[in-house]
C-alpha cells in the first residue's frame, strides 16, 4: 500500500494536514472549554456548529442580507442555541437525575442532535438543508514551490489561529478569563468570592458557539454548509480536547489539533483514503492505552515526575 511520491508531494500532504489541523484545534478548543468548565458532555455542540455554518450561508443566499451581517446573525443563533440547551435542558435534567446526571445529559444532548437538524430541514426544505455555500472569500490558488493552496486556505488558517490566540489572551489576561478559569479550577472558592457559576457556564457556552461557528463558516465557504455538518467535527473535537488535556492552555489545544491534522495528512503518503479515518482514532486509542498502562505500572511508563500541588491548590 505504500505509494511512492516525491518530497513535494509529501509536503503538500503535510500542508493540507496543517490546514485541516487548524480547524481541529479550534473545534477541540471550542468543545473542550465546555467540558472543562461545566463538566457537561455537550454532544449537541455538533448542532451549534451546524447552525452557524449552515445559516450563515442560507441567510446570505436567500435573504437580502449581506454576508457579514448574515454571519453575525448565524453566530448569535448558535450561541443562543447553546444557552438554551443549558438552561432549558441540562439544568432541569441535572436536578432530576441525581447520580445519573452525566449520562442523562449526554443522552438528552444526543436527542437534541437528532431533533434540531431535522426540524430545520423540515422548515427550510431538503434542497437547502443539503447544502448551501457561503460565497465570500475566493479560492484563488497560490503556489509556493510545488505546493498549492488557496487564498481561502490562508485566510482560514490565519483566522482560526487568531481565534485560538485571542481565546488564550482572554483567559490569561482579562477579568472575564480569570472568572472562567476560577470556576473551572475551584468552584468552591469561586463561590467564596461571589462568582456566579451558572452565569459563567452560559458565558462559556457562548464563547464555544462563536469559536466552533467560525470554524464552521470556513467549511461552508470551502465546501457547503449542511444541517448535519457538525457530526464529523464533533468527534475530532472530542479527540483533540481530551488528547490535549481538559483545561489546558488554548495554545496547546491548537497545537495538538495541528499535530493530529498533520499526522492524518501525512498518513495519506502511505495509506489509502479509507484508512486515513482510522489514523486519528488509532492515535486516540494508542494514547488511551498508554495512559492506562501508566496507571497500571507507573514505574515502567513514567517520563517525568508529576507536578505535585500542595494542599491548598484547588482542583476539579
Amino acid at each position: 500500500m505504500v505509494v511512492v511520491a516525491s518530497i513535494s508531494g509529501f509536503i503538500q500532504y503535510v500542508v493540507d494536514g496543517f490546514i485541516n489541523g487548524s480547524a481541529y484545534g479550534l473545534v477541540g478548543l471550542s468543545f473542550g472549554l465546555i467540558v472543562a468548565v461545566t463538566g457537561r458532555f455537550h454532544f449537541a455542540w455538533a448542532t451549534a456548529y451546524a447552525l452557524a455554518g449552515f445559516f450563515a450561508a442560507y441567510i446570505a443566499n436567500h435573504t437580502g442580507l449581506p454576508v457579514v451581517p448574515s454571519i453575525i446573525v448565524a453566530l448569535i443563533g448558535a450561541a443562543v442555541f447553546n444557552c438554551l440547551c443549558e438552561v432549558a435542558v441540562y439544568r432541569p435534567v441535572q436536578s432530576r437525575a441525581g447520580a445519573q446526571a452525566l449520562l442523562a445529559i449526554f443522552v438528552a444532548s444526543f436527542g437534541l442532535t437528532i431533533a434540531v437538524p431535522n426540524i430545520i430541514t423540515w422548515i427550510v426544505g431538503n434542497n437547502s438543508a443539503g447544502g448551501e455555500t457561503l460565497t465570500w472569500i475566493h479560492s484563488h490558488p497560490l503556489h509556493v514551490g510545488k505546493v498549492t493552496f488557496t487564498v481561502l486556505d490562508v485566510v482560514q488558517v490565519a483566522t482560526l489561529w487568531a481565534c485560538g490566540v485571542a481565546t488564550w489572551a482572554l483567559l490569561r489576561f482579562s477579568a472575564l478569563g480569570r472568572r472562567i478559569r476560577a470556576v473551572q479550577v475551584n468552584p468552591g472558592m469561586a463561590e467564596a468570592v461571589g462568582i456566579d457559576s451558572g452565569n459563567t457556564y452560559l458565558i462559556v457556552f457562548v464563547i464555544s458557539a462563536v469559536l466552533g461557528g467560525v470554524a464552521a463558516l470556513f467549511t461552508s465557504m470551502q465546501f457547503t454548509g449542511t444541517v448535519s455538518m457538525g457530526l464529523t467535527p464533533v468527534f475530532y473535537a472530542f479527540v483533540v480536547a481530551f488528547a490535549a488535556g481538559l483545561g489546558r492552555s488554548p495554545l496547546r489545544v491548537m497545537a495538538v489539533g495541528a499535530a493530529i491534522g498533520i499526522v492524518e495528512g501525512a498518513s495519506a503518503q502511505v495509506l489509502n483514503v479509507q484508512w486515513q479515518q482510522v489514523v486519528v482514532f488509532g492515535i486516540l486509542l494508542i494514547y488511551l492505552v498508554f495512559k492506562a498502562a501508566r496507571v497500571w505500572r507507573p514505574s515502567l511508563f513514567q517520563f517525568r515526575s508529576p507536578l505535585r500541588l500542595p494542599v491548598g491548590a484547588g482542583s476539579r
Binding site: 432541569p92 432530576r96 452525566l102 436527542g111 431533533a115 481530551f242 486509542l285 492505552v289
Partner: protein, 577 residues
C-alpha cells in the same frame, strides 16, 4: 401479518442489544458507546464466513459472538485503569475504529459491505420468511434474556451493582473489581455480537453504517428510556424506539420527504423530553417482579419465613486466628512520601488480638494514610506489614481483605441503592456464585451457599440490631444506622483485624453508645480492633492502648490517661501557647 413479524424481528434484535447493554451500563455502571460496534464484529465475522467459506448460520453465529466477546475483553482492559470519562472516550474511539476498519478492508466490501448473505438455516429449517425468522429470533432473545437475568440475579450480579455504586467499598470487602468488569464487558460484547449476526442475516446484507456511533447511542437511549438496571424495561425501551418510526409514519401523514423528517424530529424531541421528565427511566430499578410478589404477599399478611431469627450461633462467626494478646498485625518502618509531604515516616505499630488500639493525633497527622498503607490501598515506599505471620506488604487490597484484615470508612460508603441485607451478604467471602462459571454450570452449589450466606448475614445484622430492616434500601437508613450497617458488613468479611475509621463521628449520643457497646463486644470475642478517632471521650472509654501520631510519625504510646498527662502531647494536639 408479515409486517407484524417484521417489526417483531427488529424488536427482538434490538432487545438483545438493549438487554445486554443494560447489564453493562445499568448494572455494572460502565458507560460504553461501542455496543453496536461489537455487533459489527459479530455480524461481519459471521457474514464473511457465510459468504466466502460457506459456513452455515448457527456455527457462524457462535463464532461471531465469540469474536465479539474476545474484542470486548481486550478493549476493556485499558478501561480498568482509566477514569470514567476516559471510558466513554475509549469506547468512542473503539467504535469509530472498528467501523472504519471494517469499512476499509477490501474483503469485507468497503462502504457497501457484503450483500447476498445466504439464507439462515437452523436445525434443518430455512428461515426464509419473517415469521420463520422470528421463531428463531424469539428463542435466541429469550435465551439471552435468561442468561442476563441469571447473571444479574446471581451473587455475581450483586457484586456488579456494588462496583457500580462504590468501587472502593467493593474492593474494600475483597472483590477483584477487574475480574468483574472484564468479564461483564466480554459477556455483553458477545451478546451484542449475536445481535449483529441476527441483524445481518435478517437483512441478508451488512454495511458499516448499520453499526456506527449513532446506532450505539440509540441503544443507550433504549436502555435509559426503559430504565437502567431493569431488564424488562430494556425490552420495553427497544420496542418503543423501534415502533416509534412506523407508528409515526402511520399517524403523521405528510408527504414522503417531510414524513421522514418529522418522524426523526419527534424521535429526538421525545428522547429529550424523557430525560427531562424521567431521567431514571420508565421502570425503576426496584420494580422487579420479585418485589411485586413480595409486596402483594405482605399486603395479604403472609408470614415472612425467610427472616426467621437466626440460630444463636451468631456469636461464633469466624475463627479467631490469634489468641488474646498476641500480635495480630504488625507494621514496621512504614514510609510514604507524597512529593515533599511525609505522610508516614518510619512508622511502626502492633495490634493485638482481643484488644482495642486507638490511633489519635491532630489533623494532618496521617492517620487515615496509615489505614490505607496497612490495607495496601496505597503502596508504601518502604517498610513491611505482617498479618498473623504472613507478610502482606505486596498483596493487592482485595486479597488482604479476604485474608483477615478489613476496614471501615469515615464516610461510610454503603451501597445505598441495594438493600441492607445485600450490603452485608456481598462481604461474605469465597462465594461460589461470584464466579460466572459456577452461576451457569453449578447452580445447586451456588444456591446452597447462598442460603448459608443469608443466614450468616442475618446473624451479623442481628448483632448490630438491624435485622428487622434487612429489606430496606441502605440509603433510607439514618446515618447512625448506616454506620452500624457498615460495621455488620465489616464483620461479614470474617476478618480478625478490624480497622475502624472514625466509627463514632457524625452520629448522635445514643448512636455513639450503641456503637461503643458493639465494639466492646467485638473485643470480648477476641477480635483485634484499631480505631482512628477524634472524639477523645470515645477513645478513652474504648481503647486499651493508644498510639499518638504527629506529622507521619508515632511519637507516643500508652493508655489514654498516661498520654493525657504528657504536657508535650497537649501542646501538639491543642497548640502551644
Amino acid at each position: 401479518m408479515q409486517q407484524f413479524y417484521d417489526h417483531a424481528n427488529v424488536i427482538a434484535i434490538f432487545a438483545i442489544y438493549a438487554v445486554s447493554l443494560n447489564v453493562l451500563l445499568g448494572y455494572a455502571g460502565q458507560l460504553s458507546v461501542a455496543h453496536a460496534a461489537f455487533g459489527a464484529v459479530g455480524g461481519y465475522v459471521a457474514a464473511y464466513l457465510g459468504v466466502n467459506h460457506g459456513w452455515s448460520f448457527i456455527p457462524g453465529l457462535l463464532v461471531g459472538g465469540a469474536a465479539a466477546g474476545l474484542v470486548g475483553v481486550l478493549a476493556s482492559l485499558p478501561a480498568m485503569y482509566l477514569d470514567v470519562r476516559f471510558v466513554i472516550l475509549l469506547t468512542l474511539a473503539l467504535s469509530t475504529a472498528i467501523i472504519a476498519v471494517v469499512g476499509a478492508i477490501p474483503a469485507l466490501g468497503g462502504a457497501t459491505g457484503l450483500t447476498s448473505l445466504p439464507f439462515p438455516t437452523a436445525f434443518g429449517h430455512t428461515l426464509a420468511t419473517p415469521s420463520q425468522f422470528f421463531t428463531f429470533a424469539l428463542i435466541l432473545g429469550l435465551i439471552v434474556l435468561a442468561v442476563c437475568w441469571r447473571m444479574v440475579q446471581s451473587p455475581f450480579g450483586r457484586v456488579l451493582r456494588s462496583v457500580r455504586e462504590d468501587e472502593i467499598a467493593a474492593r474494600g470487602v475483597g472483590k477483584n473489581v477487574v475480574y468483574y468488569k472484564v468479564t461483564v464487558f466480554g459477556a455483553t460484547a458477545a451478546m451484542a455480537g449475536l445481535a449483529g449476526v441476527l441483524f445481518a442475516f435478517y437483512n441478508a446484507s451488512i454495511q458499516p453504517s448499520s453499526f456506527d456511533l449513532s446506532q450505539s447511542l440509540e441503544i443507550i437511549a433504549m436502555v435509559v428510556i426503559g430504565g437502567t438496571a431493569n431488564l424488562l424495561g430494556s425490552i420495553l425501551g427497544a420496542a418503543i424506539l423501534v415502533l416509534l418510526d412506523p407508528f409515526l409514519q402511520d399517524v403523521v401523514n405528510f408527504g414522503p420527504n417531510t414524513a421522514g423528517l418529522v418522524r426523526l424530529s419527534i424521535y429526538g424531541v421525545l428522547i429529550v423530553v424523557f430525560m427531562m421528565a424521567l431521567p431514571q427511566g420508565l421502570i425503576r430499578e426496584r420494580w422487579t417482579p420479585e418485589r411485586l410478589i413480595g409486596w402483594v404477599r405482605r399486603r395479604r399478611g403472609a408470614v415472612e419465613e425467610e427472616h426467621a431469627e437466626p440460630a444463636p450461633a451468631a456469636a461464633g462467626n469466624g475463627v479467631v486466628a490469634t489468641p488474646d494478646g498476641s500480635i495480630a498485625l504488625e507494621a514496621t518502618g512504614l514510609r510514604k512520601y507524597f512529593g515533599g509531604i511525609r505522610a508516614a515516616d518510619d512508622l511502626s505499630l502492633q495490634l493485638r488480638g482481643g484488644q482495642i488500639t486507638g490511633l489519635i493525633g491532630p489533623n494532618g497527622a496521617g492517620k487515615t494514610t496509615v489505614f490505607n498503607l496497612l490495607t495496601r490501598v496505597i503502596p508504601p515506599d518502604a517498610g513491611t506489614v505482617t498479618l498473623a505471620d504472613q507478610t502482606v506488604t505486596d498483596w493487592t487490597p482485595n486479597r488482604i481483605a479476604t485474608s483477615g484484615m478489613s476496614r471501615s470508612y469515615q464516610d461510610v460508603r454503603v451501597w445505598g441503592r441495594m438493600s441492607v441485607l445485600e450490603n452485608v451478604i456481598i462481604a461474605i467471602p469465597h462465594q461460589p456464585g461470584e464466579r460466572l462459571f459456577n452461576v451457569f454450570f453449578r447452580p445447586l452449589k451456588v444456591w446452597r451457599f447462598e442460603r448459608e450466606a443469608r443466614r450468616r448475614a442475618l446473624a451479623h445484622l442481628s448483632f448490630v440490631g438491624l435485622a428487622d430492616k434487612a429489606d430496606a434500601p441502605a440509603a433510607s437508613l439514618p446515618f447512625g444506622e448506616q454506620k452500624l450497617l457498615a460495621l455488620a458488613r465489616l464483620l461479614a468479611t470474617e476478618a480478625d483485624v478490624l480497622l475502624l475509621d472514625e466509627p463514632a463521628s457524625g452520629i448522635d449520643i445514643d448512636g455513639v453508645e450503641r456503637m461503643l457497646g458493639l465494639i466492646q463486644q467485638l473485643r470480648e470475642r477476641g477480635k483485634c480492633v484499631c480505631i482512628v478517632e477524634h472524639n477523645l471521650h470515645v477513645v478513652e472509654r474504648l481503647a486499651d492502648r493508644v498510639y499518638f501520631m504527629e506529622a507521619g510519625r508515632i511519637t507516643a504510646e500508652g493508655t489514654m490517661s498516661e498520654l493525657m498527662k504528657q504536657e508535650r502531647l497537649s501542646e501538639v494536639y491543642f497548640g502551644s501557647g
